[in-house]
């Protein structure tokens, strides 16, 4: 149990680092060329960075790695779920504006009763994240059909893995055989987060190429 939790905490920290990197590149792009698409991407990944950071803090507080945070675990869990869902919303929103077809946006239940427990709120937010991630992965797959870029396909598959991870995490809240669902969810999350490195690697390689060629 605690090993799985620590693994999830480490995974959240890796996700936070990747989110920060993509957020930083997007924000730099927005500053340099003023593209609103990059601003939305920056907002999405900075929110995901904050969400993953809070998730890691919640887990490390809960398992006793950071005992000082133990009392605030519930607040951190809700904050992380909320920030991650908001990040995925901005990501999905970028695609909605990109295709200029708001009618294709998925209807998600955003009103939550106030009497819900931490686990219920977290599960509800995770189910919303699932819808948003599925939408983003479908749009990325459509973009791949047009551009045939390998990194776009990798990212689309990565978003599907992240969506499935959220779904299995949600199932693990209610299923009796939760360790199986939980560990599978972690593996899928690891694969999904790893694919997010593709655009960073592409950008870094391109930077070198542009400087060499001088365009």
């Amino acid at each position: 149990m605690s090993t799985l939790l620590v693994a999830e905490g480490v995974l959240a920290l890796i996700g936070a680092f990747i989110g920060l990197s993509i957020g930083y590149i997007s924000l730099t792009g927005y500053r340099e060329i003023g593209s609103p698409a990059l601003l939305r991407l920056a907002a999405a990944f900075i929110l995901l960075f904050l969400g993953f950071t809070f998730e890691a803090l919640a887990i490390f507080g809960y398992v006793g790695v950071l005992p000082i945070l133990a009392l605030a675990t519930a607040s951190f869990i809700i904050a992380s779920s909320f920030l991650e869902t908001l990040g995925f919303f901005f990501l999905a929103f970028s695609y909605i504006l990109n295709v200029r077809a708001t009618q294709r946006a998925l209807a998600v239940p955003l009103i939550l009763p106030l009497s819900l427990t931490v686990v219920q709120i977290s599960a509800a937010l995770k189910s919303i994240s699932f819808y948003l991630l599925i939408y983003a992965s479908v749009e990325t797959a459509i973009a791949y059909m047009k551009t045939r870029r390998a990194e776009t396909l990798v990212l689309s598959l990565g978003l599907i893995f992240l969506a499935l991870s959220e779904l299995l995490r949600w199932i693990s809240y209610v299923e009796l055989s939760w360790p199986f669902w939980y560990s599978t969810s972690l593996i899928l999350k690891l694969i999904g987060i790893s694919t997010l490195v593709a655009p960073i690697v592409k950008f870094a390689s391109l930077k070198g190429g542009v400087l060499r060629n001088g365009v």
Partner: protein, 93 residues
């Protein structure tokens, strides 16, 4: 038909200016024809681009001509880099 946003139009105008004669610059008629943009919009755009330092105005005998500045070239390099980055996500700038 692909929808062009304001940023894409700026990039198109800068690209036309870059690909034209770098010494003499390019006339407004060429920009209008190749840029596929109305005269009033192009006039406003050129004024803004000159103000931002992305394009230089040259007063020639046969009217005003426009030449891309070093800052404009840097802008195009940055645009192509970030366009690739956004396309990795399946997004258009």
């Amino acid at each position: 038909m692909v929808y062009r946003n304001s940023l894409r139009i700026v990039v198109d105008i800068l690209t036309i200016a870059r690909d034209s004669d770098s010494e003499k610059g390019v006339g407004i008629t060429t920009l209008l024809r190749k840029g596929n943009i109305s005269y009033s919009r192009l006039s406003r755009l050129l004024k803004d681009l000159v103000k931002c330092g992305l394009i230089e105005e040259i007063n020639a005998e046969r009217g005003t001509r426009y030449r891309i500045s070093d800052q404009g070239r840097q802008f195009l390099i940055a645009y192509s880099r970030f366009e690739e980055f956004a396309q990795s996500f399946g997004l258009r700038l």
